[in-house]
């Protein structure tokens, strides 16, 4: 097997640049304050990530103004946006929607606009949609006029372009031609919306197998990169929890000296080291590095999602618990992580759903 599970020098530099920008522009008090503002997405921050660091066009070829990088680099950025629970449409626009457009002909102009950060796009499916879902059927097409409702869509609120599956085909729809109703979301840092289309004009992108394959590819890429977001979030939760239990004294000792806590933190660290290996493997496979690993993408993504979802939730839940009273308050970032972690466990399929998908892929048939 040829998958490289380490980070290269370029990836380390990319990580450092993203981390520095997020530390400067999205410290957690600012992230928390934004969740109660009228603009849940920080589009100034997104423009900085897109322009200064090139995050928007990572996957886009250089001739279209992008960086010509792969999902491996995108996964590194996702680790950082997960660490910071950053309210930016990176996953939805720069990964999922971009991967969909890259799989289709005639999308060069849209990709160029995305890469330059001039617009963002979102795939209009419920955030829970797993990689191998049936083609969605809640929107119908009458000619190029689309009508229907799509619920719980991630990163669609700020999107200029919505990529809509309808009647077995894929369409590009201007966000302004739809009605987007913000959802009060469990994850306050990635606000969802419901989308209503009432005869909205759509530009056809693909039909039939081409549409189905592009959708499956986009969801697979989204799920693979989401695992890295979960990894980054879990790692950050472990860090702040370790810091806290070292300094919090009760009964005359740091609470981190009790085995009741330190053994659980040791187990969490073991699970996170494993999460890093599976997330890197999924990103490498989905990146299409070579034929052998590409053929293993479906297994790799299912394993990564089944494992990393559980680890992220556990890390965030332990973060709340081990912070005790302060961890249960609004004034501490633990709840931002908990809400993001639990939401990502549902996003692109629950761990149970991925285990079920895996059964067919590895010849372990159900009862």
């Amino acid at each position: 097997m040829n998958a490289d599970l380490l980070y290269g020098e370029d990836e380390d530099q990319l990580r450092a640049a993203v981390r520095e920008l997020l530390a400067d522009r999205a410290p957690w008090p600012a992230v928390l304050a934004r969740t109660e503002s009228a603009d849940p997405y920080d589009l100034d921050l997104w423009r900085a990530l897109a322009g200064d660091v090139g995050c928007a066009g990572l996957l886009v070829p250089e001739e279209l103004g992008g960086a010509g990088a792969t999902l491996r680099e995108a996964a590194v950025v996702a680790e950082e946006t997960g660490r910071a629970v950053a309210p930016v449409p990176f996953l939805g626009s720069a990964v999922t929607a971009t991967a969909l457009l890259l799989a289709l002909p005639g999308t060069e102009e849209m990709l160029r606009e995305l890469a330059e950060g001039r617009s963002t796009a979102a795939l209009a499916v419920p955030f829970t949609t797993p990689p191998h879902a049936e083609f969605p059927g809640t929107v119908t097409a009458d000619g190029d006029r689309l009508t229907g409702r799509i619920t719980s869509v991630a990163d669609a609120l700020p999107a200029d372009v919505l990529l809509v599956p309808a009647g077995g085909a894929l369409y590009a729809v201007a966000g302004a031609d739809t009605t987007r109703t913000p959802v009060t979301s469990l994850d306050m840092t990635r606000a969802l919306c419901d989308i209503d289309l009432d005869g909205a004009p759509g530009r056809p992108l693909a039909t039939g197998d081409a549409a189905r394959d592009a959708l499956a590819r986009a969801l697979s890429c989204g799920a693979a990169v989401l695992a890295s977001e979960q990894l980054g979030l879990a790692e950050r939760c472990l860090e702040i929890t370790v810091e806290y239990v070292k300094g919090r004294y009760q009964f005359g000792r740091p609470v981190g000296s009790y085995q009741g806590l330190k053994h659980r933190l040791a187990e969490l660290w073991v699970a996170i080291t494993q999460a890093r290996a599976v997330a890197r493997y999924a990103a490498s496979c989905a990146a299409g590095d070579d034929a052998e690993t590409t053929a293993d993408t479906a297994v790799a993504v299912a394993v990564a999602q089944a494992h990393c979802s559980v680890v992220a939730v556990r890390a965030a839940e332990e973060c709340v618990q081990m912070h005790g009273g302060i961890g249960f308050t609004w004034e501490h970032p633990a709840h931002l992580y908990l809400k993001r972690a639990k939401s990502t466990a549902l996003a692109h399929g629950t761990p149970g759903r991925h285990r079920t998908d895996l059964a067919a892929l590895i010849d372990l048939a159900p009862a």
Partner: protein
Amino acid sequence: MSHPPSAADMTARAREFLAAHDPAAMDRTEFLRACFDAGLAWVHYPEGLGGSGLPRELQRAVNEAFAAAGAPDNDPRRIGIGLGMAAPTILAFGTPEQRARWLRPLWTGEEVWCQLFSEPGAGSDLAAVATRAVRDGDGWVVNGQKVWTSMAHEARWGILVARTDPDVPKHRGLTYFACDMTDPGVEVRPLRQLTGEAEFNEVFLTDVRIPDAHRLGEVGDGWRVAQTTLMNERVAIGGGAAPRESGMIGVVARTWRERPEARTAALHDRLLGLWVTAEAARLTALRIGQQLAAGQPGPEGSAAKFAFASLSQELSGLELELLGEEGLRYDDWTMRRPDSVEFLGRGPGYRYLRAKGNSIEGGTSEILRNIIAERVLGLPGEIRVDKDVAWKDLPR
């Protein structure tokens, strides 16, 4: 050579060696000795000691070329303690004479090694060992009892931790020796395990004489020397890259495929959960190997043994449930003394019972959690009431 050779260079070197040493026409031991002397035994060891001072991962090319030629190996399962624990310790702490004397027959399997560490009163608290070594002329006289000693009945040598100074705190009064298992004062008694067989032994040491030339490291420095052995033990138990569905998960997945009548929805979800965990552990081991090869060793190795133990226990337990009525039957309770350590062999009942040892041998999972919490995460250490007390004054 200005830069290290490539894998292809090593393959060529191995083939050259094979051309001069036809394994089909040679005595097995003679072949292995020649391989050692040619520096192809463990290429990351120094020249003259079976190695060529090269990166560890180049060994693979050599092994593959040898296997393709049908060359004999040194039966690593039989000499695992020597290869995995004694050898790195001898390399790190041995004198030139000791390295020259011990490493070659260790690697060829002519001399089997065992580990004389644990005692009835010193398990997790290894530094509390009570076996005494008393200076006598140019040697030492050793008295005490060791337990959990795999392969002692086959061993020529044992790596031994003994107390040389009872008047100082426990970590400071230890010394590390190589004990000649053929000494008349060494008595090996099989210690029957819950599997029915005796892979382990008790070893009684009565006035055993050890020349000072068989001491490894300084007098009183035995704890530090033992740390080298233990770190290598954990890597040996949990480490190593392997193909998908190797080991216990492969056994259980096969059982699932072969027995549709045993399947239930609950068992299915448990199996898939464990399959994911096994794959995560496998990829983690692969990543650790890549880190080592790239010269970026990380602390992840200490996680591998810990993860391995719980995984093999859960999988072997699931296997019994899958088998239903057959899971109620055990292959054989007859007391035997196997000639190698085997986690997967024999029947499912054996696998279930043997796996219980995985979280005890080589550091209990509880001790490993402490080690990860303290050395990796930097959490406060355990309160140590015995730290500044002379060993002889400790309650026991």
